[in-house]
């Protein structure tokens, strides 16, 4: 026997139809235990959909503007005057992976700060799902899944534009999309843990942008090789997810030469920092919601 199609609204439901029945609580709990993080990710994605155009324009507009300015302006000047200064590739190819990775890190700085504060403090949206079968860990994980999807979408768009500018000569260049996503998480998850610990907004997130994100962006081998900087400030690059991500992106984008062990260090550093951030975030969410 086939079931009658479900009515679109209650107004069209008739009394002859069987009453709506939710599945039993045991089923809810079992499903939530298994898929809870994805259920919350669905919520975050629905909210993001509300400002989808803004995300799309940011994803397209920012790379187009940067690449045009660098590719037509600065790159022409640099390539004319020092053709071999950047490992034999054009200046545009040199900075494209850095811009891609930096964009993901900057998005992380936004998505893992204010929305987290919003969830705990301003509109307290985390406490709705917290009263459902979802656990604090799943709520944190759901937010991360949704933001990871945003990183991927944004990085794919960025990479397509980079490729259109001819700034990713290697066939492995697409791998920098994954590197950008990993770099975003590597920077974002420790920041998320911090944001989850903030009880009062006293401009901490603006400070993070000014005194952490911007220096990392400028001193992570983004526009010039790290070894051209004085030794005293090179450490900024060594601890920077942007530098590790950028160097890895360059390996994939145009076969940047570096010792294989350094490539492994980039991957381990980014993955390790992301994992460390996740552990801290999880702990912070459980602590804050389980009081």
């Amino acid at each position: 026997m086939t079931e009658p199609p479900l009515a679109k609204t209650s107004k069209t439901r008739t009394t002859s139809e069987p009453p709506l029945r939710a599945h039993p609580p045991e089923v809810s709990a079992a499903k939530a235990r298994r898929w809870g993080a994805f259920y919350f990710a669905e919520q975050v994605l629905r909210v993001m959909k509300g400002y989808g155009w803004s995300i799309f324009l940011y994803s397209v507009g920012q790379p187009a503007a940067y690449l045009f300015a660098m590719g037509v302006g600065l790159a022409t000047l640099v390539d004319t005057n020092s053709a071999t200064a950047f490992g034999g590739v054009s200046y545009l190819a040199y900075i494209a992976p850095a811009l891609l990775i930096s964009a993901a890190v900057m998005t992380a700085a936004t998505e893992f700060t204010f929305p987290v504060m919003d969830g705990f403090k301003w509109r307290r949206v985390y406490y709705g799902p917290h009263a459902s079968p979802l656990t604090p860990e799943q709520i944190a994980a759901g937010q991360i899944i949704a933001v990871t999807l945003r990183f991927l979408l944004q990085s794919v768009i960025y990479f397509v534009i980079v490729a259109m500018f001819g700034a990713s000569p290697s066939g492995w260049g697409w791998g920098s999309v994954l590197v950008a996503t990993l770099a975003g998480l590597s920077f974002g998850l420790p920041l998320m843990a911090y944001a989850a610990s903030v009880k009062e907004d006293k401009g901490q997130f603006a400070m993070v942008m000014r005194f952490i994100v911007m220096p990392l962006f400028l001193f992570s081998g983004t526009f010039f090789p790290l070894d051209t900087l004085p030794v005293l400030v090179r450490w900024i690059g060594w601890i920077s997810p942007i530098w590790h991500g950028t160097e890895l992106g360059r390996v994939l984008s145009y076969g940047h030469e570096e010792p294989p062990v350094l490539t492994i260090i980039h991957i381990v550093f980014l993955a390790g920092l992301a994992w460390f951030g996740w552990v801290l975030t999880k702990r912070q969410f459980v602590r804050r919601m389980g009081q």
């Binding site: 479900l6 009515a7 679109k8 609204t9 209650s10 107004k11 439901r13 709506l20 029945r21 939710a22 599945h23 609580p25 045991e26 089923v27 809810s28 709990a29 079992a30 499903k31 939530a32 235990r33 898929w35 809870g36 259920y39 919350f40 669905e42 919520q43 629905r46 909210v47 509300g50 509109r123 307290r124 949206v125 985390y126 406490y127 709705g128 799902p129 917290h130 009263a131 459902s132 079968p133 979802l134 656990t135 919601m289 389980g290 009081q291």
Partner: protein, 343 residues
Amino acid sequence: MPELHSAEGTSKKPAPAKDARPTKDAGPSTNAVPAPPQYVITAKNLTKTYGDVTAVDGISFSVPVGEAFGLLGPNGAGKSTTMKMIGGVAQRTSGSLTIMGLDPEEHGPEVRAHLGVVPQQDNLDEELRVRDNLLVYGRYFGLPMSYLKPKADELLEFAQLTDKAKSKVDALSGGMKRRLTIARSLINEPRILLLDEPTTGLDPQARHILWDRLFRLKEQGVTLILTTHYMDEAEQLCDRLIVVDKGRIMAEGSPASLIRNYSTREVLELRFGSERNTSVGAELEGIGERLETLPDRVLIYTQDGEAALEEVSARGLRPLTSLVRRSSLEDVFLRLTGRSLID
């Protein structure tokens, strides 16, 4: 003070015996089907401390299926903390607690899957539209869209919000947001509904609409657990309640039995002006059964308010205003704690 348990309470609905066993008279089905839990909630010596502060101080109570059970007390009495522990979102410091036979700390998702929760502070997603709030919330219970879409419409109708389905939550009034929060809490068809101060901050009309919706749920057999500091709300909605103050249970019973046990049938309220209220006490001595002097009025507890008023006049006292009314839970609270519910 002695520990209080609902099983011995004086609720409108007689509480089932804990050791009830199927008998021949119980009907054929009881032999085959395991009996459902007698009490949906059982708390014993439930305690919660935050550092040096004891928010909940060893309270014990049980709630049978289908009862409307209230926690009445002033702000800071420990009601919300108790609700959070029942809702499996706050850990107890000591004591035991079971919801549907499960410990919420060990089986959090399983316990919360049984519950609908209306928190004290609305936490609707204001960036989503009204109907989407219901859909998203239903997804947390793993409910499929084929169920959620018609259910959301049904609940919007129940909450009288059908015409606001596509509005942003921001555009709703306080009462509408509260009704939406209640609708949201019903998306999984819970058999237990936790309502933490459901009508605080609402105007009288919005409160009455909410009460009406809650009555309907009660008629459908939903167990309501309600905290409030409004005695009229407790009287209207609760079959049985505990009066809580400073984390302890002060009294327990149905609203009528509490009033009967802790107050008189009527109360005469007299106002002599703020300067005279405190000094007039001696002159009123002997009228009624008990006298309470508050800064703004004097309360005379009596079985016959009109007769008491005549006696006041006979003594030559001329209050600025006088009012004879029936005793309320406010009077019970005043008697038990010496303080007013809403300070």
